[in-house]
Structure formats: C-alpha cells, structure tokens
Symmetry: C2
Subunit: 428 residues, 2 copies
C-alpha cells in the first residue's frame, strides 16, 4: 500500500508509451509522487506490432503490464482509465469513470492514432496496426483468408490470386516492414502448409503515394528496401494515391484492385490532447511546443512524443519515433524535478538522432546512422540486436530472442493462431 | 499441392483435439487420404488452458496450428469449417459453408462443451474455459476487476472484498487447478503490484456440489488438494449446490455471494454428434459405443474422445481425459487401416490408465498412479515434466518450460495482458 505524503510534488503522466514510461522511470525514487494513467494495462513495444500481425511473435512477447515494469517504487501509482478532460484551473485530470486525479505537474504523452486523411469511412475495411487488438485482428484476417481459399470455390489460378490479394497502404517503415513480413508469411505458408493454394496464388502489394519508399531515410536506402521487397515477391506501387477503399477493393486512381485484406500504415493523427489543454493543434492534431516541451502559456504542463510537434534547441522538429519520445520523457522528468526543487529549468531540449532502422523480411534490413549506411544481412543483425536490447524487461528479451532464432532456423511461425471473432469459417 | 489418388481410402476426421490429432498422426504415411476438419485453425493443449486464464502462459504457448503439426504429409488435408450434418447414405460430411467432404471412413472427435445442467441463462455470467477465447476472456475479467478496485470507490475493506470475490464452480481437476492459480495470481498481484488493494481484499472461492474434491482421484488425494488450496487462501465449499447465478451474485441454497467473476468448471455436454449420426445420446450428450469404437450399426463411423461414452473390452467406461482420447484415436486409426486393407479388425479397445495428475498452485500437486500416490512438491515436479513432455512440438515445450521456470523464480506472470473487449476501464 502507498503512503501519500501531502507535501510531495504530485506528477500525473497520461499515457504509458515510450515517452510516458521514460518519464515515470526517470522520476522513480526522486521524492515525487507519480500517477501514470493509461487506457490499457500494458506498455507496448509498438515497433514490433507488425510481427504480431504477421504471426511471428505473440502479444505477450512485446508487451508488459505497466504495474510490473514500475512496481519497484511505492510512490508510483498506476491507474487504468481514459481521460475525459483536464481542468487546468483546478489542476485536475478527470477520467471517464469519474475519478479525479490532481497534479502539480502534468505530462501528456497520449500518442497518435491512425489518420485516414478525412476518409474515416475506410477505417473498417483498412485497419491500422496501433494496438495488440489491431494486430491480432489483422493476423486473424490474413490467416482466415488463406483458410477460406483452401476450402473455397475459387477454381482458377486467377480467381484465387484475386481472393488472396493483400494490400498495405503506406511506404514508411511500418508499411515496409508489414509488407515484407506479410509476403514471407503468406507465400511461405501457401507453399508449405496448404494443398490447394501455392505461392503463385498469393499477391502482396505495397501502395505508396510518394516517389520512393522510406521518405525519412536517405534515397539510396529507399531503393534498397524496394529491391528487397521485390525479391520477397511484394509488388511495390510508387506514386500511387488511394482514392477509395470498399469492403472488396482498393481504388488507385481509375484502377480497381479487388481485395478483402487491406492494412493501413499511411498516416497518423495525434490524440485529442490539444482540446484538453485548450491550445491550437497543427494539421496532424499535435500540440506545437518549443524546446522546453511545455504547453503554450503553462509552466506545469508538458506535451511529449507523438502528441507534440517539438521544435528543439537546434530549431529542428523531432521525428515521431520511439527514441525521440523517450528523450522527451526524460527531459520532462528533469524539468519537473527542477520545478519541484525550486531549481532552474534544464537547458533546452535537443533531440539526439542515433540512427534509423527498418527491416524487410527474414534477413534484410536498412540502417542509417548518418555516418554509416548499411543494408542487407548486416543491417538485419543490427536491427535484431537493437530491438532485443530495447525490449522492456529481461523475460521479453529472452523469449523474443529465442523465438526469432527459432523462426530463423525453421521458417516456422509459432503464433499463427486465429483467435477472437468467431474463429471459425463456418459461421463467418 | 496435393495429389488425390481416386482409389485411395478417404478418411475424414472431424475435430483436431487429442483424439482427432492422434488418429491423423497414426494415419500419416499409411497410404490413405486424410482430411481433418475443425472449427479452429489450432490444436489446443486444453489441460493448460487455466494457465492462460490466469496469465501464466500465452495462448501461443499451448496451441499450435493444425497445418504446422500435420504438414509433413502430402496426403493430409486440413479444412477450417464447422460441420452442418453428416449424410450417412452418401457418405459425405457437409460443412456450414456448403463444402461437401466425402469419406470412406469417418472419425467423429468433436469433444464437449460446458453444460449448465439446464440453466443456460447462467452462461453469460459464468463462462467456462474450453477455448483460447474463453481463457483470454476470463483473464481479462480478473485483471479488469483488480484494476477497477484500484481506481474504484470501494472505500471499506469489506466492500473491496465483496468487489474482489472470485468464484470457481466445480471441484474436478479443472476447477481445482483454476482456483489455485487464480488465488496465486490475485493475492500475489494485490500484495506486490497494487497500492490501494492488498491480499486481504481478495477472496477466491471454490464451490463444489460433492462431498470431496477431485472425485476421480482416491479420497486421500482429494483431502490433500483441499489442504493445499486452503494454504493458498482459497475458501473451499463442499456439498454446496449452486441454485442461481446472476450478473452480481452466485446463490448457494439460500446464501447469496456477491461477485461479478464466476468461472464454470462443473459439467460438460458432448457436441451434437449423436444428432448428425441419427443415434441416441446418453444424458451427457455422448454417443454410446462399444470396444470397437463404432457408431451403432456402422462399420465405417468411429466416435471417440469426449463425444463418446466408450465401454472398453474390460467393461469399464473410459474417462473423459486426454490420454483416453489419444488411445481411442490411435485405435480408430488402426481399425481404419485394417478396413482399408481388407484385414481383420484389431482386438477390442482397452483403456490403459497411466495415472492421474492435478496441480494446485506454484509448488503443489497430487498424482495417482494406482501403485503410487504422491502429493506436494514431488507431484508438482512430475506434473511439470509430464505436461512439458506432452506438449505438441519442441518449440512449445521449450517456451513453456522457460516460462514456468521464470515464473517459479520470480513469481512474475508474463502474460498478464488485458486484450480484447475495449481493453479500457474508461469505456466499460
């Protein structure tokens, strides 16, 4: 049980993603009371969600209960709940269930959701991959489609190929990684495990509006990624803008691509934090903050991670990646400790870019460290090490490492389960 | 892709549980065509489902895709689908999606579902644990209830204890194992990971209609199980018959126990195979078969596992446990091979009882091998070895073994994720 000491500085952190968890961990044992609020009970290693969606890893491999990660500190509380609003005058966060959580300092780190650029009616037919439930839903759709093709009545190769068309929209790291893993899963499984379908029946397509993949990487690596994807059998369409998505097709300009499986990885929209804080949002819904990471006009409210558009001390806008969110969380923690101790605020935030990594399938990746660009197998090894290293908690690292090694040796995908929904073709 | 040779004997197996999988594996490479039909895409190690429900293991740890397990044989097909009916004259299984699967020999191994003894309106408030989705639902309910208590407004110890009452109905192996694991999960987590609740707030109750636990074990072991459960803090109620279950309470006779979390482990009802086969069912819905395991009046239809009430060559009714189903599956395979080769049927089926095991919590179990009865830590070690040994496929064995060892060392439960539903308190 906790002791709440009335005169301790009370910090409320909303959101247990990379930013919020980094702030909470940096505040542990520092003489402040911390309450972290999230809609889910687990911290999620989002960069590996696509591996859950393509049956390479299990949900528990990439997620850990927030309570377990933070339990060492008796002055840290965890609340499961959704934020209704923030009362800035009373300095209270109001939750949907009616609870009121008072703060002296507030960190808003609620992340972002998929954006359909004003076409929200596409959402049901083209789910994004942002949560564990999203990922298991995509996994179910892919596996069920293959099972349906096996028992189904698509007699010609052409009609099977149409039925087994999988489309990923968006050529950033998420889309590239998803398309590569999806091609490996579907083509390999079709070849090895099914009788009536083969890899020739399967079509995986990556649709990208820009003129090269991975726009946040140097152009040469975008080209390498494209080559690697094509080797895996992915059909890459550049300069292709999606004009409509229906339950049965994706439209690219005038062209109609029949498909029932579309994954959206094309854009994000920040959570409604700007509305809670009564400040204007940028077009992606983010709160614009300066190098002190504070909401306009407030000394006590910090906005970090994908919820914010941070212009750092060097005048650059920090990218929407996990390392940026972590660094901002640590900075916010330092600034809050300075506040609580009546000291001077730390030097303005400066984002340190340690590099950029994306993986394509089982043995290929691209890496950009500024001074070094790598692609192919060495980049893939780097990617494996980096991701295992950054996974929270020894157990996950160990299980994920063992899993990857096993998949690498055997090509098997241990998490290939259809769960949720009704789980059965017969009633779908 | 498969070759279907028209003159090969065609075997259809409905159900990929222990019985169906044992039959399929025994028929592999024996010159017959096998089609296995299941509503789900995975074989499930049901005896460990309670560990998924109590967050000790992940779904993928105890389930493997049927295709992966059977893929070595090109004459074995896997169909995802639900059976609508069996046309015994045409010798065709009809699936709900309209597909028709012809057979020369048929094995019905569709298992059993929960039975509420005519009180099917209790089902929504007292789910059983028969599928992965059942197990993750129970896990979600337990974890959400604890999270709600942490942020909730039950101010007194009494009201928290009422809110945090978990009831298991049924004192067979499933109920005993579930209650033990549930007590460990909830009491330990309450003590270690929560601030506003402690183990004194948690009440786990096992309600059993009979006068001793584990009726299928010798009386002394039932007593040991009861002692072990009580040491874990489980309140065991014997001779207690549930008279009603509502969303907010379990009624035992006149007594009303307020609770929102009830798990049903009290009875099973066989799947509707008897109706498909136009034969009478016993009160548990099972098809009565003799020591040849064949449906009454049919030479070509075998009924095995929990779908059947098998009277074996010794005149005993085989119990509804995994080893019995496996032995029956192997027997059915032998009998089918004899049929397909025009040979004499094998000697009548005789169930071989290798013993009975049940585990209670982290370090205790009871085991009965007839000639040897063990309880406590040695029985628990035996239980671990036996279950790891029988898990299908090396990968699962390895992951489950590592997981248990880790849990044993740390008391941590790696799979403590709330997924599905809305996952958030705020909107529930």
């Amino acid at each position: 049980m906790t002791t709440e000491t009335p005169d301790r500085h009370r910090v409320v952190i909303v959101g247990a993603g990379f930013g919020g968890m980094a702030a909470a961990q940096a505040l542990m044992g520092q003489g402040v009371d911390v309450t972290i609020v999230d809609q889910r009970n687990h911290h999620l290693f989002q960069p590996l969600l696509y591996q859950v969606a393509t049956a390479g890893l299990s949900p528990a491999d990439i997620a850990g209960p927030i309570r377990t990660i933070l339990k060492r500190d008796r002055h840290t509380r965890v609340f499961l709940g959704a934020v209704e609003d923030v009362d800035l005058d009373a300095k209270v966060v109001r939750l949907v269930n009616g609870a009121r959580v008072p703060f002296d300092s507030l960190v808003v780190a609620t992340g972002a959701a998929q954006s359909y650029f004003g076409n929200d009616h596409w959402r049901p037919f083209a789910p994004g991959v942002k949560t564990l439930d999203d990922a298991t839903r995509v996994r179910r759709t892919i596996l069920l489609t293959m099972e349906e093709a096996e028992t189904g009545r698509q007699q010609s190769l052409e009609s099977r190929r149409e039925f087994l068309t999988f489309v990923v929209v968006g050529g950033g790291p998420t889309g590239v990684e998803m398309a590569g893993a999806m091609a490996e899963l579907t083509r390999h499984a079709a070849e090895m495990d099914f009788h009536y379908i083969s890899s020739r029946c399967v079509r995986v397509m990556l649709v990208h509006a820009g003129d090269r993949l991975l726009p946040s990487f140097p152009p040469s690596l975008g080209g390498k990624a494209m080559q690697s994807l094509e080797k895996l059998g992915v059909e890459v369409r550049l300069n292709a803008r999606v004009t409509d998505i229906t339950p049965f097709a994706v439209h690219i300009g005038e062209e109609e691509i029949p498909t029932t499986t579309v994954v959206w990885a094309a854009g994000v929209m920040a959570s409604p934090a700007a509305a809670w804080l009564r400040v204007p949002a940028d077009p992606q819904g983010r709160v614009r903050v300066g190098a002190d990471l504070r909401a306009p006009g407030r000394d006590d409210v910090f906005v970090i991670g994908d919820t914010a558009a941070v212009t750092d001390a060097a005048g650059k806008v920090a990218p929407g990646v996990a390392p940026a969110a972590k660094q901002q969380g640590q900075y916010a923690a330092r600034a809050i400790l300075a506040r609580s101790r009546g000291r001077r605020a730390p030097a303005p935030f400066r984002y340190r870019d340690y590099g950029n990594l994306a993986t394509i399938g089982r043995q290929r990746a691209v890496a950009d460290f500024g001074w070094l660009r790598v692609s192919g197998f060495p980049a893939w090894l780097l990617w494996c090490l980096a991701h295992i290293y950054f996974l929270v908690g020894f157990r996950n690292r160990f299980v994920v490492g063992a899993n990857w090694f096993w998949n690498y040796l055997t090509f098997e995908r241990g998490a290939r389960l259809i769960t949720g929904g009704d789980g059965a073709l017969g009633t779908s």
